[in-house]
């Protein structure tokens, strides 16, 4: 009898039984969702208290013209900070909402429905009703297109102008991004681009590293894909830059950090929250694409960030929690802006649109969102 029992036992199990990268991503997503619902328990637990509040809120709704208020701040932006409160939906739907400045709407999804909420008319419209569960991590939208994935691994492409809908069978890992008429996504092997007009698919990048800690960064016609590699001196991160017009790789840059999270391409720079295993808090840094140099930006301890031109939003750590503050970035120095100073609730998930609108989610009972256009 062969003596390697472990090998025999291993061979008795089909080779495809493993925890795939796709399943790891799914577990991470579900774990995040469950943690959020633990942090924000359903209001029905406090029904007696909130029923009174609900009556008062209803009166306010009847009296007031709208649930949305315009806030004036002492900041110098052309457009004031806008508070958006969407009734009858919950935090998990809004946390991944997409703001489209061209159409002044928020796109978000719950289990089987995708909605648009107009900030002009303050009304909600159902865009898609599906029989399958919608994967909110594969939701992308702009003024012309709406793309979403369903749990059956189907990707749906809706032309919002013609209402023509197409279906593709894809195993998407969660990084799905729209840029005009292009769809960028990744599967287990690498990144691909689909021309949404012709549905022609092009292979952009094959993975060669051991993993990724961030989605790709996309701005204008450039895409940057991070990959982690093992080396003798510890793990490093490589960034591959592609020109989406020519579909050619135009650059490759390295950083001596194992983890590069929340990669953002902006100002001809690759920004990321960099960290190694032995470091407590990430540092914010960028690689200048013009000369490949790495620069560190001095910041207070932060958990999350977003950057657009010379504006930086940071989730600043304060004791056991954090909240978003907005800064102006001048020569790597930060000047705090008073934009969110009057807001008492915790703010999370800062994200900029391609055209300079900053969205953050609030954690008050009504799950309001705040939008500041910095252009």
């Amino acid at each position: 009898m062969p003596k390697n029992i472990k090998q025999l036992l291993d061979e008795s199990i089909p080779a495809d039984i493993t925890l795939s990268e796709e399943n790891k991503q799914k577990i991470l997503r579900k774990a995040n969702q469950q943690l959020q619902s633990t942090i924000h328990p359903r209001k029905r637990l406090f029904r007696p208290i909130f029923s009174t509040l609900a009556i008062i809120s209803l009166l306010v709704i009847l009296i007031g013209p709208s649930l949305s208020n315009w806030f004036s701040t002492s900041s110098s932006f052309n457009t004031p900070l806008e508070k958006v409160t969407i009734p009858n939906d919950d935090y998990s739907s809004f946390i991944h909402s997409i703001f489209i400045k061209d159409t002044n709407e928020l796109i978000y999804a719950d289990n089987k429905t995708i909605y648009s909420y107009s900030l002009t008319s303050h009304s909600q419209q159902v865009l898609v009703e599906s029989s399958e569960d919608i994967d909110i991590y594969t939701l992308a939208a702009n003024k012309n297109w709406l793309i979403w994935g369903e749990k059956n691994n189907n990707i749906y492409i809706l032309n919002r102008k013609t209402t023509l809908q197409k279906e593709q069978k894809k195993t998407v890992l969660g990084d799905i991004q729209l840029q005009e008429d292009r769809l960028i996504y990744n599967d287990a092997s690498g990144y691909k681009q689909i021309n949404l007009i012709t549905l022609e698919e092009t292979n952009l990048h094959d993975f060669t590293g051991i993993g990724r800690n961030s989605k790709a960064g996309l701005y204008d016609n450039l895409l940057v894909i991070p990959e982690q590699f093992k080396s003798n001196n510890g793990n490093t991160t490589e960034f591959y830059v592609y020109d989406l017009t020519t579909l050619k790789q135009i650059g490759k840059y390295g950083a001596p950090y194992k983890v590069a999270e929340n990669v953002i391409l902006m100002n001809n720079k690759i920004y990321a929250a960099f960290s190694n295993e032995d470091e407590n808090s990430p540092i914010l840094g960028y690689i200048d694409l013009t000369d490949g140099t790495f620069h560190k930006i001095e910041t207070p301890p932060f958990n999350n960030y977003a950057v657009y031109k010379n504006y930086l939003a940071l989730s600043i750590v304060d004791k056991n929690t954090d909240t978003v503050k907005l800064y102006r970035l001048e020569n790597e120095n930060l000047e705090e802006l008073p934009t969110f100073n009057k807001i008492k609730e915790r703010l999370v998930m800062p994200r900029f649109t391609d055209d300079g609108a900053l969205i953050v989610n609030g954690e008050s009972a009504d799950f309001s969102m705040y939008i500041q256009d910095v252009e």
Partner: protein, 177 residues
């Protein structure tokens, strides 16, 4: 604990233990989808209770314990009984091999798995944990919440029932743990 720390710890745990836990769960429940569900449940629970873990060894023990417990729960569940009843009913109509049985019969080298499959769960668990997951008797006793002597007895009986023979070196190594 902050979100990015949690995510990092979960990702790391999945990278280190995910493959083995999925295969262990499959070895015990013989159902790919169920094995994936079990492992998903285990890692989500780990993520939600991360504050409880300080050392790497306790994480390992916890993950294996949760996986074994979830597999046990599955056998107690209505879903499993329903499958078993339908399997039993189908044998009265016409005997048809399950895909797993057909697979196991494909090659002789799987005879060990066939023998192990016929073992009562308590023997099957210790053999997979010891030989496949390479856990020590002490670790298995923590996972199964029983004494080291019980683990050793189950290992010995399980080996005998599965007609497992071992080299002298392997016996020595098992005793050392």
């Amino acid at each position: 604990m902050e979100k990015h720390e949690r995510d990092k710890l979960l990702t790391n745990a999945m990278d280190v233990y995910g493959h083995y836990l999925t295969r262990l769960a499959y070895a015990l429940v013989k159902d790919k989808e169920k094995a994936e569900d079990i492992v998903q449940e285990v890692f989500i629970r780990y993520y939600l209770h991360l504050e409880q873990f300080e050392g790497r060894s306790s994480v390992k023990t916890y993950l294996y314990r949760m996986t074994v417990n979830e597999c046990r729960n599955y056998f107690k569940s209505w879903a499993f009984r329903k499958i078993e009843v339908s399997k039993l009913a189908s044998t009265f109509l016409i005997y048809k091999e399950t895909p797993e049985e057909a697979y196991l019969k494909q090659e002789d080298k799987h005879y060990l798995a066939v023998l192990l499959n016929k073992l009562p769960a308590k023997y099957k668990e210790v053999i997979w944990l010891h030989y496949y997951a390479e856990l020590s008797v002490k670790e298995i006793s923590e996972i199964l919440n029983c004494s080291s002597n019980t683990v050793k007895t189950r290992l010995a009986r399980g080996r005998k029932k599965a007609q497992l023979t071992m080299s002298e070196e392997e016996i020595d190594r098992a005793k050392e743990h």
